[in-house]
Symmetry: C2
Subunit: 208 residues, 2 copies
Amino acid sequence: MTEKQTIGQWLDTLASKAPVPGGGGASALAGALAAALGRMVANLTVGKKRYADVEQEMQAALAVLAALQEELSGLADEDARVFAPLAAAYGLPSQTEEEKARKDKVMEENLLAASLVPLKITERALEVLRLLEGLEEKGSRMAVSDVGVGAQMARAAAAGAVMNVYINTKSMKNREQAELLNARAEAAVRESEHLADRIYGRVLEKLR
Amino acid sequence: MTEKQTIGQWLDTLASKAPVPGGGGASALAGALAAALGRMVANLTVGKKRYADVEQEMQAALAVLAALQEELSGLADEDARVFAPLAAAYGLPSQTEEEKARKDKVMEENLLAASLVPLKITERALEVLRLLEGLEEKGSRMAVSDVGVGAQMARAAAAGAVMNVYINTKSMKNREQAELLNARAEAAVRESEHLADRIYGRVLEKLR
């Protein structure tokens, strides 16, 4: 499990030839980093007199970000879990018509599973960004740069994961489903980049 | 030490009110993730007949990326280490002229140290990107999406860390030095964003 490994171990397995973790897992982890940074900012805001009027909003953000952090860490594991059956499906025999039909079916199922995980990473990263936008506006001024870093991490998570959607949908036979998944992924990544750049720009303005 | 902690522990300390790790540490970690992804791509390229003519370049990239990954992980620790003396300096008395002069001197030294660490993170992230560019062009086609994820991580590392340069140089009395540091940071982050976007665009083209 990703969360139980040391950072050194995880980085070195990432760096190795081993198929997982790879770019999908790294994207999920960047998303978890973004959520954790958002929690940090909310934690530095709650209970402060100066920010009393946003207390409830900050408490709500804390709860949602904790759930998103956990989900994104879990998606790093999930991304690793869907890899092996997909790799196995690529190796299925396809000599006879029957084998071919069976391989197609198994491939299609596993390609779908392997597309849905990075799509979820992208969409969750976008949710983190929506919360970061509120934190930039109303959270502790002292921690505004951490909102900016969080925005960069979430942007990288979304733009990183989306490539694994495209890789897997590319091989799908059901083109209608593939195009739907691509469209969902593209919308999420475009909004993430836009939102992250807006948040980051505002943070830079405050720092100057 | 960052590398010895579990990912779960590190994320939860990041999420807490504790001053470190914060955005600087998260940026350093994103840089280490980028370097590890680059190593993964190079590891999947070396020893392959198809890529025999880039073997030496890949071996060289492996060595440099391993060093960069280690340095970036270490910069997460370094970023935490320079925080305490800076926080202590902010609390020094400044009633008498003598106290004021001493505080100014100690502040200036610690602001410089606290600026140099994120500046180094940004510059190292740029070095990772320069290697990723070669990996995109010449590394294993099978792992090209991992180059794209690495580019996103390095971009986030550079753009994330640079804010901590600006925060610290802002309070420096030696404006000439502050402006020099800002200019170096800005050049590195601009080049990083440009390079990352170019690499990512090329990867997307290959995936389609």
